[in-house]
Symmetry: C2
């Protein structure tokens, strides 16, 4: 656990002198990691043993050990954060920011994903007679990608990004079918209707959406992927990439569940593409 956060948390359990130490540390932690116990004591206007006691209170072995923890906290203190692109950013800058934000959001998504739900979803998908992926707009891209993945498994799978086709398909669904409905906002009316139709017709509905939305209410299982609000550029960016990662996970779970011999299918599909490609010159 990050020791700087810990100091901030336990600030009110400290005594007067200890708080002085805490303040000096928090005001410039990067200086402290290079300072001796004497230097820090002097800066905080307290005695050396007080610093030592302070360190022990934070479950470290002593001052050197404390410095080690502090150094580590500083090192991973600025991981990936959502950084908004600015009006005057250079190509260098906005490129860096977009990567940073994407990774920050993947980090977030990973934390928010519930593996039990994933497991159940994989269960359902492997047992499905037919799998459908529905999405609109940016989520259509995700559904499209899902089709690409699942199609390789040699299972009946369809994808529609057209409201009418989605409705028709939903109406024709039946027990044993799995319908995956993708929508980050979970508020797209026609998709919510599609989910509801599919459910009425006894299909199992898996929603890749945000918890607590109208769409989520219509689903049998909700795979929720948390990401930070999309930026002010009015475009879905990170949500989409997190959803794609989720598709990768479901597809991977699917292949693992189906066992080794099944994986030959994948190889076949891949090999079938060979003739459409220019050979790579092996060195």
């Amino acid at each position: 656990m990050n020791i700087l956060e810990k100091i901030a948390n336990e600030l009110d359990t400290f005594s007067k002198s200890e708080r002085k130490v805490a303040e000096v540390i928090m005001s410039s932690p990067s200086t402290v990691i290079h300072a001796s116990i004497a230097a820090l004591a002097k800066q905080a206007n307290i005695s050396e043993p007080t610093v030592n006691r302070f360190c022990r209170r934070l479950d470290t072995k002593g001052y050197p050990d404390f410095k080690l923890h502090l150094a580590q906290s500083l090192a991973n203190g600025t991981p990936y954060v959502n950084r908004h692109v600015d009006e005057n950013d250079s190509a260098d800058e906005y490129t860096a920011k977009i990567f940073e934000s994407t990774m920050a959001n993947l980090e977030l998504a990973r934390k928010s994903l519930d593996t039990n739900t994933i497991n159940r979803s994989v269960d359902l998908l492997t047992q499905a007679n037919k799998i459908s992926f529905f999405g609109l707009g940016a989520s259509a891209v995700v559904a499209h990608d899902a089709l690409n993945k699942f199609f390789r498994f040699n299972v009946p799978v369809v994808y529609f990004d057209d409201i009418l086709m989605q409705r028709m398909s939903a109406i024709n669904s039946q027990q044993g079918d799995v319908v995956v409905v993708i929508s980050h906002t979970g508020r797209t009316k026609s998709l919510v209707e599609v989910a509801s139709l599919a459910k009425e017709n006894d299909a199992t509905v898996i929603g890749i959406t945000t918890q607590g939305t109208p769409l989520a209410k219509e689903c049998n299982i909700v795979l929720s992927v948390d990401v930070a609000e999309d930026t002010d550029l009015y475009m879905p960016m990170s949500s989409r990439i997190a959803q794609l990662a989720l598709i990768d996970i479901l597809a991977t779970g699917f292949t693992l569940r189906r066992g080794t011999k099944f994986r030959d299918n994948l190889k076949k599909v891949k090999d079938s593409l060979r003739s459409s490609r220019f050979e790579r010159k092996e060195p």
Copy 2:
């Protein structure tokens, strides 16, 4: 810079005894950060001053300072690495691995992207009379996504994932048009032909592909995104996500280049979607 990498790099410039120290450190760095100089010297079967000299050679002030650096390296020293999914992985495990790999590859992609090329591409895109995105298979998804983004800019943009349409579109292209051809392998015959056709008809061809491939040779500009080879599951995974990040970057560059007033367009598009959505209850 990561000090563990530094040690590995400079391994051959070390003397015999220094190498012993290096080996002990590399074999269990997490132990070393808690060890005294005496303990480390004993473990490596050399004297204390040798350890000290070793630290100085690595541009640290001495042993304690070295430990600090080491601690920091360890904190963010195991960043994201490509981890292959294993036969017997649990949902927890393969989920973690897929996120890790995705992030590792984004990290890689970020490093390999050349911002000058991005800048030039954005230039061309902003000046284009018409923009086309072509891809097949997994890359079709990326092209599809690009359409979604650029369509919002109110510029003539098309996307095809059908060979015939791609060919026809390429043949009909002319000077001032920009054709973006997407293929990770850069070896898909029909796509290479499409690129070549577009070029013959004086369109500017931007390739989102790997450097040195047949497709790359047909392009005016190559935006190359390095990612590790896709896993043994025979599915394109990371390459696709890196390409999507690139699309985000191009789209962002585009809006920035077009200036503030243009951004109203985006808002309009977003607002136009409102009526198709369930209202969010504001608290």
